[in-house]
C-alpha cells in the first residue's frame, strides 16, 4: 500500500518537475520574443535617429516638409476617425439591439475591409475618381480633385479603418443586452436621453479602446494612402510616406528621426489602450 502511494508521489513529483521546466522554457521564450522582436526594432529606430546627435534629430523633425506631413496626417486622422466612430456606434447599435434577417451578412460586410489589401483599397478609389476613372471626367469638368488630394487620402484611410470601432462595440453591446435601455424608456426617457445617459456610459471604455486602435491604424496607414496620395512633398505627403521618401533618398538619419516621432505616437497609443482596457475589465 505504502509503496503504491510512494510511487504515485514520485510520479507526481516528476510531473511537477516537468511542469516547472516547461514553465521556465515558456517564460524565457516569451522574454526572447519580446526582446528580439518587439524591443530591438524600437531601440534601433531611436539609435539610428540619434546617430548624429540630438541637433540633427531635431532639425529633421522640425524641417518644413516633415511638419507639413505631420499636419496632413493629423488632419486625415481627425476627419476619418470621427466618421468611423459614428459609423461604429450606429452599426453596433443595429446589430446588437435588434434581431433581423441578414444580420450575419451585415457583420461580415462590416469586417470586409480587414481582408482587402490596403493597396486594393487605394486602387478602387483611383478607378472611381481618377482621371481615367468612372466619374473622373465629371469631377474634372467641375474642378473637383479627389485623387492626389486630401479627400482621396481621407477616403483611403476611412476604408482601411471602417471595422475597428464596430468590432469592439458589437460583442460588448451584445453582452450587455437591452434591459437597461428598456428600463430607461419605460421611465420616460426619449431616445437621445436613453443613449446619452444609459448606453454611452456603459460602452464608454470599449468605445475608447476601438477609437484608439482606429487612430493607430489611421495614423500609420501606408499602402492605401500611398496609392491615392501622389507623393507631392509638403502637400499630399503624410508622415509615413515622408519616412519612405527620406529613406529612399538615403537620408537615413532623417527617415529614422521622423519614424521615431511616429514611434512616440504609437507608444502613447499603447498606453491609452492599456488604460482603457484595464477600465473595460
Amino acid at each position: 500500500m505504502s509503496s503504491i502511494t510512494l510511487a504515485a508521489g514520485a510520479a507526481s513529483n516528476a510531473k511537477r518537475r516537468g511542469n516547472a521546466i516547461g514553465r521556465r522554457v515558456l517564460i524565457v521564450s516569451a522574454w526572447l520574443v519580446f526582446a528580439l522582436f518587439l524591443l530591438l526594432p524600437l531601440l534601433i529606430v531611436v539609435s539610428e535617429a540619434l546617430k548624429h546627435g540630438i541637433g540633427t534629430f531635431l532639425a529633421s523633425v522640425f524641417e518644413a516638409d516633415a511638419v507639413a506631413a505631420l499636419q496632413l496626417t493629423l488632419l486625415a486622422v481627425g476627419i476619418s476617425v470621427p466618421l468611423n466612430l459614428i459609423f461604429g456606434v450606429a452599426a453596433a447599435w443595429c446589430v446588437s439591439k435588434y434581431s433581423f434577417r441578414g444580420k450575419s451578412i451585415l457583420v461580415t460586410l462590416i469586417d470586409l475591409p480587414f481582408s482587402v489589401s490596403p493597396v486594393i483599397a487605394g486602387l478602387i478609389y483611383v478607378l472611381l475618381f481618377g482621371a481615367q476613372g468612372f466619374i473622373g471626367p465629371w469631377l474634372r469638368a467641375h474642378d473637383i480633385q479627389i485623387i492626389f488630394a486630401l479627400p482621396g487620402i481621407v477616403l483611403a484611410t476611412v476604408f482601411v479603418t471602417v471595422p475597428f470601432v464596430a468590432r469592439e462595440l458589437i460583442p460588448l453591446m451584445q453582452g450587455q443586452g437591452t434591459q437597461e435601455e428598456e428600463a430607461a424608456r419605460l421611465l420616460g426617457a426619449n431616445g437621445w436621453q436613453m443613449f446619452w445617459h444609459v448606453t454611452l456610459p456603459n460602452i464608454k471604455w470599449g468605445l475608447i479602446y476601438g477609437v484608439v486602435l482606429c487612430t493607430a491604424r489611421a495614423m500609420g496607414e501606408f499602402g492605401a494612402v500611398s496609392v491615392v496620395s501622389g507623393h507631392i512633398r509638403g502637400y499630399t505627403n503624410t508622415l509615413p510616406l515622408h519616412v519612405e521618401i527620406l529613406y529612399n533618398e538615403y537620408n537615413h538619419v532623417a527617415a529614422f528621426s521622423v519614424a521615431s516621432l511616429l514611434l512616440l505616437l504609437a507608444l502613447v497609443i499603447l498606453l491609452v489602450k492599456q488604460w482603457s482596457e484595464s477600465r473595460l475589465k
Binding site: 526594432p41 459609423f87 435588434y98 478602387i124 478607378l127 431616445g191 519616412v243 519614424a259 504609437a266
Partner: protein, 272 residues
C-alpha cells in the same frame, strides 16, 4: 419578414439605414467598381495578365510568405498566449502591453527598423551572414516582416480562450491518468483550435495584403522578391489600370476562397 424589433428601443431604421448607406458608399460600391472595371476585360485578356510569369511568381511569393508567417505566429503566438495567461513572472505586464506594438506602430516604421536590423550590414543581419544566411532582400526577410506585423492576432484570439479553460478540467484529466500530451490533445487542443484558426486566418489575410512593412526589407526584385501588392503599385505607376485591376481581382478571389476554406474547416471542428 422575421424581424422582431424591440418595441421600446428606438433607432432601428436610423442606425440600420446609416450603416447600410455608409458601407455601400465607402466599401461596397468602390469594390464593385473594381469588378465592373475588370468585367471590361475579356477572359483571354484577363488570363494573359494574371498568367504572366511575373504575376504568377508574385502570387506564389505573397501567399507562401503570408502562410509561413501565419504558421510561425501560430506557434510563437500560442507560446506567448500560454505564458501570459498561465504564469506570473517579472515583466509580464510589460510584455502584455507591448504585444500590440505591431498594431500601433506604422508599418513603414516597422519596415525600416527591421531592414536596419536584418540588412547584411545590420546587427542581426551580420550575425546571420556569419552563419551563411541572408535575411533581408530574400523571402525570409518578407516572412520576417509579415510575422512581426501579424504577431498580435494569434496571441489576442487565444488569450481569452485559454483564460476560460478551467484548470480543474486539466487536473481531472491528469488525475484520471492522462499523460501531459494526452491532456493537451484531448482537453486543450479542441478548446483552442477554433480560436487558433481565427487568429491564423486573420494573420494570413493581413499578411497577403501587407505592403508598408514588406517593401523596405524585400528588395523588390521582379520574379524573386516582388509581392503582389507591390506589383499592383508598379502597374498603377505605369498607368496600366487594366493590369492593376486584374491582379487586384485575382488577389481578392484567392484570398476569399482560402478564408472560406478556413471558415468551413472551423465549422467542421465546431461540429465534431
Amino acid at each position: 419578414m422575421s424581424r422582431s424589433i424591440s418595441p421600446v428601443i428606438p433607432g432601428f431604421g436610423l442606425t440600420l439605414g446609416y450603416t447600410l448607406v455608409y458601407l455601400s458608399l465607402l466599401v461596397l460600391i468602390p469594390l464593385g467598381a473594381m469588378f465592373v472595371h475588370a468585367a471590361q476585360l475579356s477572359w483571354a485578356e484577363f488570363w494573359s495578365i494574371v498568367s504572366a510569369p511575373r504575376v504568377q511568381a508574385a502570387l506564389k511569393l505573397s501567399f507562401a510568405t503570408a502562410f509561413a508567417a501565419a504558421a510561425i505566429n501560430g506557434i510563437i503566438g500560442t507560446l506567448l498566449a500560454w505564458a501570459l495567461v498561465r504564469y506570473t513572472f517579472p515583466g509580464r505586464k510589460v510584455i502584455e502591453a507591448m504585444i500590440d506594438l505591431p498594431f500601433a506602430l506604422p508599418t513603414a516604421v516597422a519596415g525600416i527598423a527591421l531592414t536596419a536590423l536584418y540588412a547584411p550590414s545590420g546587427m542581426l543581419g551580420q550575425l546571420a551572414a556569419s552563419w551563411g544566411v541572408k535575411i533581408a532582400y530574400t523571402p525570409i526577410g518578407i516572412t520576417l516582416a509579415l510575422t512581426f506585423v501579424t504577431l498580435p492576432f494569434v496571441v489576442r484570439t487565444l488569450q481569452p480562450v485559454l483564460a476560460d479553460i478551467p484548470r480543474e478540467v486539466e487536473e481531472a484529466a491528469a488525475c484520471l491518468g492522462a499523460k501531459p500530451l494526452q491532456v493537451f490533445r484531448h482537453v486543450l487542443l479542441p478548446a483552442m483550435l477554433p480560436a487558433w484558426l481565427t487568429g491564423f486566418s486573420l494573420a494570413f489575410a493581413r499578411g497577403v495584403g501587407e505592403y508598408g512593412s514588406v517593401i523596405f526589407i524585400a528588395g523588390n526584385m521582379p520574379m524573386k522578391t516582388e509581392i503582389l501588392p507591390l506589383l499592383i503599385m508598379v502597374k498603377l505607376d505605369q498607368y496600366d489600370y487594366h493590369g492593376a485591376t486584374a491582379i487586384g481581382v485575382l488577389m481578392l478571389l484567392v484570398s476569399f476562397i482560402l478564408l472560406l476554406l478556413i471558415n468551413l474547416l472551423q465549422r467542421q471542428i465546431a461540429k465534431s
